[in-house]
């Protein structure tokens, strides 16, 4: 049996960490797009659409991410759609992310006062123009800290994808532990890597906060 050096462990974890980063990015971008769309239709205010979006948000906020992944991964094959762990993880995390971002952003949009809507309406702007020029720029500044904060949750949420066999950082950690019998070392390294991904995100959030305060008012 060959010996595993610490470098072997770290090197293999780093390879797997690429998938964690890629899955996080994909889920965050897709979730953000879906979330923005849901935010727009919700804010536009058709009562039935509002109810539907609220139900969507509550469904995904009120159930564990793990169950959502199981349902996507095991449920879709039942209706004849075979999905790979990658597709299932992406889809599950996108649904999860979009629900949370919609809710976070809704709060930010609502914090922009009624007077801003009325003033822009009085100037003849339609809904899209109001959103684009008046409401979203103001909501964006407020939204940055919680949004980047949530992106950290997405990164950590990708660990759940290990359960359906997607080889990312946590799954790789488990596999290496099974070969090395050194769980403390391996999971210690795994934790450090998650931290190295998440900590810069927090720093970035703080940087953006300062920047927006100075420039955009």
């Amino acid at each position: 049996m060959s010996e595993f050096t610490l470098w072997d462990i770290v090197y293999n974890l780093l390879l797997a960490a690429r998938w964690t980063v890629l899955l996080s990015l994909t889920a965050f971008v897709l979730g953000g797009l879906v979330g923005l769309l849901l935010l727009m239709v919700r804010t536009a205010g058709n009562p039935w659409v509002v109810r539907l979006v609220r139900a969507y948000v509550e469904l995904f906020q009120g159930t564990p991410l793990l169950m959502q992944l199981f349902i996507v991964f095991f449920g879709l094959p039942l209706i004849g759609l075979d999905v790979s762990p990658w597709v299932a993880a992406t889809l599950g995390l996108t649904l999860f992310t979009s629900a949370f971002l919609t809710e976070i952003w809704r709060g930010c949009v609502e914090s922009v006062g009624k007077g801003q809507w009325e003033a822009s309406a009085s100037l003849g702007m339609n809904f899209t123009q109001q959103m684009r020029y008046i409401v979203l720029p103001q909501a964006l500044r407020i939204a940055i800290p919680p949004t980047v904060g949530f992106s950290v949750q997405v990164v950590k949420g990708t660990a759940v994808a290990s359960i359906i066999g997607f080889v990312e950082l946590t799954k790789a950690g488990t596999m290496i532990t099974n070969a090395t019998y050194a769980p403390f070392t391996v999971y210690g390294c795994v934790a450090v890597m998650y931290f190295l991904i998440c900590y810069p995100l927090s720093l970035f959030a703080r940087h953006l906060e300062g920047k927006f305060r100075n420039v955009a008012r």
Binding site: G115, A121, S122, L123, Y133, R141
Partner: protein, 242 residues
């Protein structure tokens, strides 16, 4: 034909009927003051004229054209009817100049140069040529309100609605805003204002509309109405202010 005509306007908030059948005609160049106690419906009436409050019943005609609740009608209406608010409602993330330029560019699709020229003209008119690059939070209340007036004027409305435009201002800042409104009135702008500045209303307005409990209770020439109120309600309202 009047520029704006309101016929039998009814409006309720839930069970509370705020406007109980309002008829009002606003002629071009006329300056009208809406006065009355708070809760009399004067602000709500003003807000129905540009569709910020949707009426339950009645007809609004602007320039001879009936306004329906369709979005396109509302947008067309708002191109003709500008509004200035008690709380200014400037866009805090834009400079004074950008606040005024935005709508001509975005709504009227004017070029940046055109919009800028109009914005500079309007800001100069309200006496803020030297404050164009300032953000709202760098301006006093009176200056903010003047930017708001310039912003409404840049859209070249036919009517300007003013909703208690000096009520949120410190007393020493009231006059600079009233001076701008007076200047507009003298230039022939059609103005409808809800105001508590009775002396100003008396001096500047052509017509006074006294609202009481959701109805137009008394209306007429300001001098006449103030010196010789016909109803006890107006009499006590005017008396209570003196």
């Amino acid at each position: 034909m009047s520029l704006v005509e309101l016929h039998a306007i009814h409006k309720s908030f839930g069970a509370l009927e705020v406007l109980k059948g309002i008829d009002l005609a606003i002629d071009e160049g006329q300056v009208i003051a809406l006065i009355g106690k708070s809760g009399s419906g004067k602000s709500t009436l003003l807000r129905t004229i540009n569709g910020l409050e949707v009426i339950d019943d009645g007809v609004i005609m602007v320039d001879g054209k009936k306004i329906s609740e369709r979005d396109t009608d509302l947008l067309a209406l708002r191109l003709q009817v500008g509004m200035v608010f008690q709380q200014f409602n400037l866009f805090p993330h834009y400079t004074a100049l950008e606040n005024v330029m935005l709508s001509p560019q975005v709504v009227k699709k004017q070029s940046k140069a055109e919009a800028r020229a109009i914005a500079e003209e309007m800001l100069t008119k309200v006496g803020l040529a030297d404050k164009m690059m300032h953000y709202p939070d760098q301006l006093s209340g009176g200056q903010q309100q003047r930017v708001a007036i310039a912003r409404a004027l840049a859209m070249k409305p036919k009517v300007l609605l003013c909703d208690e435009v000096t009520s949120a201002l410190d007393p020493e800042l009231v006059n600079e805003v009233l001076a701008v409104v007076r200047q507009l009135a003298e230039e022939g702008m059609t103005l409808v204002m809800v105001t508590h500045e009775m002396r100003f209303a008396r001096e500047v307005c052509d017509k006074l509309v006294f609202m009481h409990q959701g109805r137009i209770h008394e209306t007429g020439d300001p001098e006449e109405v103030f010196s010789n109120p016909k109803t006890p309600e107006l009499s006590s309202f005017v008396g209570g202010l003196a």
